[in-house]
Symmetry: C2
Subunit: 365 residues, 2 copies
DNA sequence: TTGTATGCGTTATCAA
DNA sequence: TTGATAACGCATACAA
């Protein structure tokens, strides 16, 4: 079948000395009777080349289906126009969303992306960084990863590094100024919005359901406790589940059903949805018997029954911003800014008003 | 901040002539007092190198944090150990799943992946192919794309090409033998399984809901009609929706609710879930008033209320297989096999038994 | 306006 | 067992 393709090409490229796989600048230069440099310049749109030869070169390039060799170019130019993207798991809607917008923005600005999944293993994350270093990516975005920023910076020569929703402890504490390149949402504010929504609607006995041991879990749980305290409620119960509890939420649901609160704030939408389903098995139907709010705003939260109330994280914006600020930094020789984005609570039907509006008044007073 | 890193290096690398960014083979050779070739061979584990020098080289490489230059190596070796992955949309759970397993398998076998999203636009798909060609990927996987296999094969020099769930018409007709490299599931069989499930459970007035104009839609719709006919039922109704109808399924739901069938087979899970939700707004609750079966087996189908009955497509297996057969082909100098995988119906609670078991007997007789 | 020569970092051929 | 050298394809400094 390779033969077939060759046969077609022969029609246009009568040259006999054509054992080579890819056509090079050299080949087109030879056809047009100019030097390699002229061909190179013509294709680069160099103004010093006469219109005539430029057009001839371009035409021949098209005819020969010339495609530049990125490796050779990179070697010479000392840049690759490639970005590294390290993401924990593409099956997670949030990471899919981030990767999607990241790739789109990168593509539109002429960069391609080398993607590697870290699967929440430090070893794989390290490996990913090595891959990026070898390929000489011009910039790297690290999403929800656990490697220390210090290690990341020294592994990948890139000072063009961006951390999206970092899970490393050093980047979680919101009280100290964020180092450059950190793009995250405001966990505390988002959590507070969830609590406020619940309390404003009359819920008082509310609990938090943590999932996994990532730093953001701790941060949200603490923010939850603080918000509850601020609203004058007694210390809440915190349930802890494994990070993949959403796949098999039975035990967790049983634990919650044993002494059910009025409402649950869950670490993420996956868990919220799973719990909503599992709790039904224990006779707790949402929102009649229990209110549930999720975190992330994945698209399936809008399709659930009842529709999930959730704190939507601007994942798409983060991905796009990551690529954009990385490329800006690369091209400007600067270092990407740190930015923290707000989250927004979207009320669905998994929570309801369970008490008079007066509740709001007295609570906020 | 670059200064800081350099300062650290100086401790170990006293050489003054060190303005260079990355450490090269040359640098480590110089430190160990051997030639570049020896250093190269030592690092490659060449048996002809004495154990002493090999260890010295390796130690120095580690000390200097040497990381090979992939561009230079590619240029010389005429291969990149990179795979191209073209996928329509990472936000779609199915494509996320495919990309996830593809990347994992590739990574485990030492290949990295350049990812680009086609967003269902031929122009972008073409661009993606160009990117792959420029970067000299050793193989390319094209997922659910609409470019013709002919064009793909000529754009990317790779005869190492794999088409996962191709949507191009020429690859859809299941009556002709599949060309090499095609990995797909059996649409007809899957659709038949859905119809059988429904009919076996007593449903008789069933309709199909198409979404978009992709080839697989036509194939499934045709298979649906054939299966319905085979089971001795009258010609079914076929509803047609746009490919993103699942985001705003109101009109479609209204159309269906105007003359509701007993059950719906939907093009995919997203649509099924959206319809399940939207139909409720028209007083049609699933499965009480209407049965719904989806297609894909995305993880949120297990979390829906009621749990979705769906034809599960082995997306993960396909992604893994794509990478595996691509790499096998590359390393073996062969061409990847064509394979069609079966789908499996998983019964959830969005369908139920609405008639006696005798129905099955008489229908299959 | 165009051509010549060089080097990017690596591996491989050949010679020692 | 090791070293000198060339070549991979491209872009550019310098020369013409």
């Amino acid at each position: 079948m390779l033969i077939t393709a060759r046969a077609e090409d022969d029609r246009v490229n009568g040259d006999p000395a054509d054992q080579r796989q890819r056509v090079r600048l050299q080949d087109i230069a030879h056809q047009v009777n100019v030097s390699r440099s002229t061909a190179s310049r013509a294709l680069a749109g160099d103004q010093r080349i006469s219109a005539a030869t430029r057009e001839a070169v371009i035409a021949m390039a098209a005819e020969l289906r010339y495609v530049p060799n990125a490796a050779a170019r990179s070697l010479r130019m000392r840049h690759t126009r490639a970005l590294g993207l390290l993401v924990p798991d593409l099956r997670d809607p949030v990471h899919g969303q981030v990767a999607s917008t990241f790739e789109q923005e990168a593509g539109e600005r002429g960069y391609c992306v080398i993607l590697v999944t870290g699967r929440n293993e430090v070893a794989r994350e390290r490996l990913a960084l090595k891959v990026f270093a070898e390929h000489g990516t011009d910039g790297v975005a690290i999403v929800s990863s656990v490697v220390s920023p210090r290690e990341a910076r020294e592994r990948v020569s890139a000072d063009h590094l961006v951390f999206v929703q970092p899970e490393h402890r050093s980047l979680q504490l919101s009280d100290r100024p964020l180092p450059p390149g950190v793009i995250r949402m405001d966990d505390a504010q988002g959590t507070r919005a969830a609590v406020d929504h619940l309390v404003d609607n009359g819920y008082r006995r509310i609990a938090y359901v943590a999932s996994g041991v990532r730093a953001s879990n701790t941060v949200r749980a603490e923010a939850f406790k603080a918000a509850v305290r601020e609203r004058g409620l007694p210390p809440p119960r915190i349930h802890s589940a494994s990070s993949d509890a959403w796949r098999d939420p039975g035990d967790l649901a049983a634990e919650i059903a044993a002494d059910p609160p009025e409402a649950l704030v869950c670490y993420d939408d996956k868990l919220a949805l799973a719990l909503m389903d599992a709790l039904r098995g224990f006779g707790l139907v949402c929102p009649r018997d229990i209110g549930i709010v999720g975190f992330d705003g994945i698209s399936f939260a809008e399709l659930s029954n009842p529709r999930l109330t959730t704190v939507v994280v601007p994942s798409g914006e983060m991905g796009r911003l990551a690529a954009a600020s990385l490329i800006d930094a690369i091209q400007g020789g600067t270092v990407p800014d740190a930015v923290v984005l707000p989250a927004q609570l979207i009320a669905g039907e998994s929570t309801r008003t369970i008490s008079l509006p007066e509740a709001r008044m007295s609570a906020s007073a």
